[in-house]
């Protein structure tokens, strides 16, 4: 992994190209994380990929996480790998939830979803993985060639892996409890 000073140099390099991209750098458990603003994600990825000294040409994984109740709520992680030096770096794009604090109670037909630029042009491997992030969190990737649900049924409503989505399933019925207090599970 790039060590802490190396990470600072990378952060400086990315910031030079486009101001206001890097929010923070974090280095924990031997892992370097570059926390960026969502609008500057493509710039950061392109800088990391194309700068000759960096050469992070392989996108290992693109995944999203929901940090409810922390804000900003969503984050999209890009795990990059430089195969020559075998170094990994993580680019984390923090996204606000546009529907938060929305008191319209679903009155508007358009659901407000967090948006981000798609990096399929830079890393074609992101195609399925961005679809997965859209499917489970509702994060819209602008510029994705074919953004639709990948693992849930096409007409499913809801974003399953968000933290406020219920886990589902059925309660297991125990006969004794049913006799004593029917529908005890409610």
């Amino acid at each position: 992994m790039p060590d802490a000073p190396g990470l600072e140099l990378i952060a400086q390099g990315v910031e030079e190209g486009r101001q206001g991209t890097v929010i923070e750098t974090a280095f924990e458990h031997g892992r370097a994380t570059l926390i960026v603003h969502p609008e500057g994600v493509l710039h950061a990825l392109r800088w990391l990929r194309d700068t000759p000294e960096q050469g992070y040409t392989f996108l290992s994984s693109l995944h999203a996480a929901d940090y409810l109740p922390a804000t900003p709520r969503f984050a999209v992680h890009y795990e990059l790998l430089c195969r020559d030096r075998v170094e990994r770096i993580n680019v984390k794009a923090l996204l606000q939830d546009p529907a938060a604090g929305d008191d319209s109670n679903g009155a508007s037909p358009e659901e407000k979803l967090p948006e981000l630029d798609s990096c399929v042009a830079l890393y074609p491997t992101a195609e399925f993985q961005e679809r997965e992030a859209y499917d489970f969190f509702g994060i819209v990737f602008r510029g994705h060639p074919d953004l639709r649900r990948i693992l849930m049924p096409e007409d499913y409503v809801g974003w399953p892996q968000r933290r406020d989505f219920p886990i589902g399933g059925e309660p297991v019925l125990f006969t004794h409890n049913e006799i004593e207090t029917p529908r005890w599970f409610e």
Partner: protein
């Protein structure tokens, strides 16, 4: 061979005559012939069906790997006559649901089951297809018998191939017409039925009565009376 169906009354009279010893000669012979052939033929048919079940290749998840190893030489299913796994549901008469049924797959499974021809049987192999196993969440159908009839459930995650063969033998007994007792009869487990969650809520009072009697539990009135008596005293 044509078997004539007579009216019930005529058959009853003939049975009475047989018991009295009044049937003679040709009538007696015909009577015995009919009974013997009908049941023996059905038995033979069922025996043939049981020993030549054609399973459908329907592997869903991890249980499918154990089902595959049941086909192979150590836990040979060919010795029970079922090695001819058919890919087309029209040619198969048994479907082994091996693996978890997700909500996207459930309509597909149901369609494949509908495309099978009668008579057909279903084995729900493993915990996931019997009752969703460990996956009590939004994505798995909580038991395949929510949308299709299941004959045999096999517990395990995944069940050993020997367990699957045991279940298969039970299915063969079922096919032959002499099914083993279900666990409710064996353990006298009345009152353990799952009451569905209808909008009406409570199970009917008769159901509660029945269950309470079976479990030898005091009914709700008795419990209330006890409580009143203890508060009074």
């Amino acid at each position: 061979m044509e078997i004539e169906r007579e009216s019930l009354r005529a058959r009853q009279l003939r049975a009475r005559d047989l018991l009295r010893g009044d049937l003679e000669g040709q009538d007696l012979e015909k009577y015995v012939e009919e009974r013997l052939l009908t049941t023996t033929l059905e038995n033979a048919l069922n025996w043939g069906r049981a020993n030549a079940l054609f399973p459908l290749t329907f592997g869903l998840a991890c249980c499918a790997i154990e089902m595959m190893s049941m086909v192979t030489s150590r836990y040979d299913i060919a010795r029970f006559g079922a090695e001819a796994f058919r890919a087309s549901p029209r040619q198969a008469d048994m479907i082994i649901l091996s693996g978890r049924v997700s909500i996207k797959m459930a309509p597909v499974v149901r369609r494949v089951y509908d495309q099978m021809l009668e008579p057909k049987w279903v084995i729900a192999m493993g915990a996931c297809s019997s009752s969703a196993g460990m996956f009590a969440n939004y994505a798995v159908v909580q038991g395949a018998d929510k949308f299709m009839p299941v004959d045999i459930h096999i517990p395990g995650c995944p069940p050993r191939p020997e367990a699957l063969l045991y279940g298969f033998n039970k299915l063969q007994k079922l096919v032959r017409g002499k099914p083993d007792l279900g666990w409710r009869q064996r353990y006298n487990a009345a009152g353990t039925e799952e009451w569905a969650r209808f909008e009406s809520g409570k199970p009917s009072p008769e159901a509660i009565e029945r269950a309470a009697v079976a479990l030898e539990m005091p009914t709700l009135e008795e419990v209330q009376r006890e409580r009143e008596r203890s508060t009074d005293a």
